[in-house]
């Protein structure tokens, strides 16, 4: 299990490849469900040039840990990877990566979605968008 706040851009497929290469559950995990959230260049009708992602150091990691522990135990997961970007982000760059490994597909699918929904409501992160002519805080996440 690995949870990380990342200040630099990352390639989710490189991260997943590196993580699974070192995994001990190689021949037990029949299922892996992942989610990758990326920055779009368009939101709520406006072109977005760039974005700043703020977090609450210490609390963010702690809450992600609580979420991952709860979902893991509830669904009997073999492994979980959560990577979340902070700082200045450009369109096309990745914001979040969640990977869940389990013996069978139901637990992996359920867990990946549960972790994403919990992360989007309980892990302290805030987005500020730079539009062409002004800046704005994103007020609310879109419903899952």
């Amino acid at each position: 299990m690995h949870i990380e706040i990342r200040h630099q851009a990352f390639n989710p497929w490189h991260e997943l490849e590196a993580y699974t290469r070192s995994a001990s559950h190689r021949n037990q995990a029949g299922a892996c469900a992942t989610f990758v959230g990326s920055m779009r260049d368009f939101n709520e009708g406006d072109t977005v040039r760039t974005m700043h992602l703020e977090h609450y150091p210490g609390m963010t990691e702690k809450q992600l840990g609580v979420i991952v522990d709860e979902v893991s135990k509830e669904n009997g997961l073999l492994d979980v990877l959560v990577l979340h970007r902070v700082g200045d982000i450009n369109p096309g760059e990745e914001i979040v990566l969640v990977g869940c490994w389990s013996s069978h597909r139901k637990a992996a699918f359920d867990s990946c979605r549960l972790i994403m929904e919990a992360l989007k409501s309980k892990a302290p992160f805030w987005k500020k968008e730079k539009l062409l002519d002004r800046e704005r805080w994103v007020s609310r996440n879109t419903p899952g």
Partner: protein, 76 residues
């Protein structure tokens, strides 16, 4: 007693500080901390944490607590 009040994202801009030490009376609650800094009600949806755990405006605070205020989460 004294607590450390912290503000994030749009609330940091609204309040004008990221972090401020606040003197409050014994038996104070989170609402008292908020009022001591801002002098007004929260007005919009404000989330609260004490020592990095979620709490609410009625929760009691003790000397040395870190009391954080932030808007709804928009990560992921």
């Amino acid at each position: 007693m004294s607590v450390n009040a912290r503000f994030f994202a749009s609330l940091k801009e609204r309040v004008g500080h990221g972090s401020v030490s606040v003197d409050v009376a014994e038996a104070a609650c989170v609402r008292d901390v908020w009022y001591a800094v801002t002098g007004e009600g929260p007005g919009e949806e404000v989330l609260v944490a004490i020592n990095k755990e979620y709490a609410d405006f009625d929760a009691a605070v003790v000397d040395g607590d870190e009391v954080a205020f932030f808007p709804p989460i928009t990560g992921g």
